[in-house]
Amino acid sequence: MAEAENPTSLESLLAAKEIAIFCGSGGVGKTTTAAAAAAMAAVKLGGKVLVLTVDPAKRLANALGLQGFGNVETRVPTSAFKAAGQPHPRGELWAAMLDTKQSWDNLVRRHAPDPATVARILENPLYQNISGRFVQSHEYIAMERLYELHSEGNFDLIVVDTPPTRNALDFIEAPERMAEFFSSRFLRLLIVPYRSRVVNLASRPFYQVADRILGSQFLQDIAEFFILFQTMYAGFVERSQAVARLLRDKRTTFVVVTTLEAAPVHEAEFFIDVLTTKKFHLDALVLNKVLPSYFNDEVASTRAAVLVDRAPELAAKVAGVIGAEPAQIERVLTEVGESFSNFGVVAQREAAQRAALSKSPAVVAAVPYFETDIYDLEGLLRLAERFWT
């Protein structure tokens, strides 16, 4: 595929990339936007497009009308495209949801030296906790799974919906942090006594503190876990570094999604700043759920005020035409005018937020507020049309 020098739209951007990572704070419509972009790419660009959602709330499944798809990539049936008014998409749309536990298990199977070690790791209580619940492990495993899917080479474009994280950029640092973690000095320190049963004098206070707080059984569990994990160390670290490299590769693009509410904008600015500083390829910003521009029209606001101020008099005139109760018409006119002014206040707040987003990537798309829900492929494509070109 030819590389677009300066992408001018999401279409030209996604046509030139192999991975698109959608990030943004919770509730901005990231999952839906990512799914919409993937669906549109399948229709317009062709090839095999995969959307990978990593959100444990299984939201993408709802949005795509799929029930309970798991770690395995599933093709969205052509009948769904037909129903969405696109009987002949140029490509295929696939969807996959991240199953954190299963992905961890696969990782262990790949890197552990022998089946016995695999079994012992999978049975370790600490491992079960980490792979199942450990929040940060979602972030790492999402990127790890992305790497795996990419390296299998089955897809032309992989669109990733990122997990809702505490610090929404944790996932880009997760691979590096994992590598760091497994090469930590503390890790070595911690497992020494359980390996050799010899504790040197210098490190004794460390164990006393740890013992006192956590109990030695727990420490032993941790140690066993890490001794087992160390057998995978080399493969694991190498892998995390490869994952980290892929995220910085120029075939990978980042798309920041935000609404124009204060908190998400604040976070979007933070993302843009970090992604730019750390030299990731941030190429697009999607402003989602933006109110229609007519709310920003000052002349229209004045008319709305007139409608309210002169409601009784106007109602009498309207009554002459449509023959309804003047009092009722008056209420309706007042509501119309007041509602417009109300949303006008919000629209102005949004405009101010938009202006405050100073540093912007190459592509900026504003998507209007959809007053009805998006729950099927047709809705996704309708949404995508608003940010695609």
Partner: protein, 320 residues
Amino acid sequence: MPPQDNLNLLDRKLVFVTGKGGVGKTSVTAALGLLAAERGKKTLLCEVDSKGNLSDFFETGPTHFEEREVQPNLWAMSMDTEASLKQYLTLQLKLGLMARIGPLARMFDFVATAAPGVKEIVTVGKLCWEVRERHYDLVVVDAAPTGHIVGQLAAPQAINGLIQVGPVRQQTGWMLEILGDPAMTGVAIVTTPEEMPVNETIELQGRIKAETNVALAAVIINRVLPELFGRGEEEVFEQLGDREVLDMLEGEVGGPVAPLLDGARMAVTLRRTRTEHLDRLRERIEPGIPLLYLPYLFARSHGLRSTRQLAEALSAELGF
């Protein structure tokens, strides 16, 4: 366990406020705190997910681990797990010396990364401790979002399962007592009348019941849009779009009226779509769990003014 009808949300000692990202969890937490404080309760607000915007709702500077008064009777802090651990070692285990050991921070960070639940237990532990010591009448927590709250609330059980002996294990007992008493502790889920937040609220209700011993105390529905038209008024509204009426109105107000009608139509459709989700929510939330409705605020900004408006709305919903 559904809470008793006569038990008001603010009568509890510890309230965890959660919800899907973007529903206004922090602003509702702020409003709950403001309302409680105004009603004479010495209240502590604790921000757990350090996005650091709780203070925006009071227009004060950023909050820290050391709580400070942001409004009369209302105190705010942000959770810092390391500071919390130090406080715990000093005040509870009388191991102040240990808290000063240099590599403690790094060690804690390491153990917490390795052992799930450690950070959570230190967080929940600090909150329970404030309750046990009766420093405040009420502690309101801007807790983790729906995806992570169960891990936080269930941390004492998880730790109980992992750590067999030692002071940490001993500590989980009294925490479980505070968390498990529905008269003391409750979870409030904030949602908006939209599809995904409602889905997550329903899902979370089930998980709280199955995986934690904390009671669901309330579901707070935020950003409820006003109903524009009453009975028969919608027909009148539709007739305003008739060419003849439109021409007349445009002549009177001096320009296009269609955008005003479009705006109203959007508001009506938005409200209608949301009503479907509200109905689904009402159907699925267990009877006895209070549903509190807060209006969408057409506010210029989200500062103290809107916190106050939200607190007033909450006050009415709570029957004050």
